[in-house]
């Protein structure tokens, strides 16, 4: 009979004692000093927080952060605006508009079609990485930017366009140089 009344189904039930406090305990002096001691102790401990954009913690190899649209070894954009990332996105964060590559732009885009507009709404994005899995052109990555999405003051600032997403040209050049050395 007593079993269901006393046991806790959630496992977090605690018996509370209603013991009368002594005079010393009623003063709360000792309790305050005890509490303060814990606070003061933390002044001399190593800080748990870091100043993020200035200081960066080492990223785990399986982290997923800010997206980056990759360039190939010749500095051309890999993305062909096939729309599979937008299709696979469970949060529907990705929109794009395709355009045809014009003659003379072969050094900018790898295929005859490219993404004229490519936007990711970082407020909608849940960083699941399905866009990376879906990409047939090896274009979108959440792991190579080694960055998190920074804080902003306006909601519109979280819609990242190609200016923020495409890999910087210097990074592509550096990667190519490193690869040729190896």
């Amino acid at each position: 009979m007593s079993s269901l009344q006393t046991i806790s189904l959630s496992g977090s039930k605690k018996e509370v004692s209603k013991k009368e406090m002594t005079f010393l305990e009623k003063l709360y002096l000792i309790a305050i000093i005890k509490g303060l001691w814990i606070t003061i102790k933390h002044f001399f401990k190593k800080k748990a927080t870091i100043q993020y954009p200035d200081q960066v913690r080492p990223f785990s190899p399986v982290y997923r952060g800010r997206h980056m649209l990759k360039r190939d070894s010749q500095g051309r954009e890999n993305c062909t605006a096939c729309g599979l990332c937008a299709l696979s996105c469970p949060a529907e964060a990705i929109t794009m508009k395709a355009a045809e590559r014009k003659p003379g732009e072969e050094h900018l885009y790898r295929e005859e079609k490219y993404a004229e507009i490519y936007e990711i709404n970082m407020l909608r994005c849940i960083f699941c990485g399905l866009c990376e899995e879906a990409c047939p052109k090896d274009a979108i990555y959440l792991t190579i930017s080694k960055e998190l999405v920074p804080a902003q003051y306006h909601r519109e600032d979280f819609i990242f366009g190609k200016d923020k997403l495409v890999m910087p040209l210097e990074m592509a050049i550096r990667n190519t140089q490193q690869n040729s050395v190896n």
Binding site: L4, Q5, L9, S10, T80, A81, G83, E111, K113, P136
Partner: protein, 342 residues
């Protein structure tokens, strides 16, 4: 005449081909077809995708046929027994045919406008290998301009010759065809003439791959981001039925195609005016959204389909005591101020 396909019996009229009989039955035993088109005459027999095994020739001659036969051009015989999906030889043959068709296909589906409604994509999804064994160079052609409405990508062509039959049978005079032979065979116009007939746009619809695509829709959107609607209009052209599928993005008509059935064959051909020039919503009477088969990518991200309600059957014993616990945790009966005093 009685025919049995994969164990399913059906009565057919004399002169029916095995493929047509299989389509009457429907379901999984329908062989895939790349070149055969029921609305066009003299199509079929080229792609070899629809190979089936005839295990019993007929009642009069019950011997099985030694080789696999192309079902789209083989007529039924009385008492014939056919194995399509159930035959391992057929599955192997389809795999081999798919591999052959993909030898020269550039596999540029991310760029191609046909992706999502491509017969070759569906075929290779079902029968294709994940890897290619072909290490030689693929056959390539110089890009060619065949007019301002139709885009030709010869590299993607599988030479089914459906478009040639469209030009033969629907338009007044044919200006394109298969030039050269063997590996050099290509669809082209004679001395780079532009294709501009009233019904030439139907080549886009009959093309099973992305070799002939709509230039007015080029790179505008992927097919699965468009919402297809059935619509009709009174076309001035007496031969045009005026019934089409509109591919809409919001209020914008991005593409107009003929209505296609479950075998991706058009129900009725439409004229070029309907297809290329009528891109305003006011031009059309919209009947309603068009349904597509369950597995089609066009149905992706479609939340309009009915969702089943989830019912959780919890055992009674687990729920025992939960009501008391909930009261104790949330303390709805005890006012907040009383709690403070204690």
């Amino acid at each position: 005449m009685k025919v049995t396909i994969d164990g399913q019996e059906i009565e057919v009229a004399p002169g029916t081909t095995i493929l047509q009989a299989a389509r009457m039955i429907g379901g999984e035993s329908v062989p895939p077809a790349m070149c055969y088109y029921s609305k066009l005459e003299k199509t079929g027999g080229k792609c070899r995708c629809c190979l089936v095994e005839v295990t019993k020739g007929s009642d009069a001659d019950p011997r099985p046929m030694p080789k696999l036969v192309a079902s789209c051009v083989t007529g039924c015989m009385d008492g014939m027994e056919v194995a399509s999906k159930s035959s391992e030889r057929v599955t192997e043959a389809r795999k081999a045919v798919t591999e052959f068709l993909l030898i020269n296909h550039p596999l540029d589906c991310p760029v191609c406008d046909q992706a999502g409604e491509c017969d070759l994509q569906n075929l290779s999804f079902e029968h294709g290998k994940a890897q290619s064994r072909f290490i030689e160079d693929k056959r390539t052609f110089e890009p060619e301009n065949i007019g301002d409405k139709i885009q030709l990508h010869m590299n993607r062509c599988i030479l089914c010759q459906r478009c040639v039959q469209v030009a033969e049978q629907l338009t007044d005079y044919r200006v394109h065809g298969v030039l050269n032979r063997g590996d050099h065979a290509q669809i082209s116009t004679y001395v780079a003439a532009a294709i501009d007939n009233d019904f030439s746009g139907n080549m886009i619809d009959v093309c099973p791959v992305g070799a002939l695509t709509d230039k007015t829709f080029r790179f505008k959107s992927r097919v699965w981001f468009n919402k297809p609607f059935n619509a009709h209009r009174n076309c001035e052209n007496p031969e045009c039925c005026g019934k089409a599928t509109l591919w809409m993005f919001g209020n914008e008509i991005q593409r107009v195609t003929a209505r296609k059935d479950i075998y991706h064959e058009v129900e009725d051909f439409i004229c070029n005016t309907c297809r290329f020039d009528k891109k305003e919503v006011t031009d059309w009477v919209i009947e309603g959204p068009r349904k597509f088969e369950k597995d089609s990518v066009i149905n992706q991200n479609n939340y309009t389909r009915p969702m089943e309600k989830v019912i959780m059957n919890t055992e009674k014993g687990i729920l025992e005591g939960r009501e008391q616990d909930r009261k104790k945790i949330s303390m709805a009966q005890i006012p907040f101020n009383n709690q403070k005093k204690q």
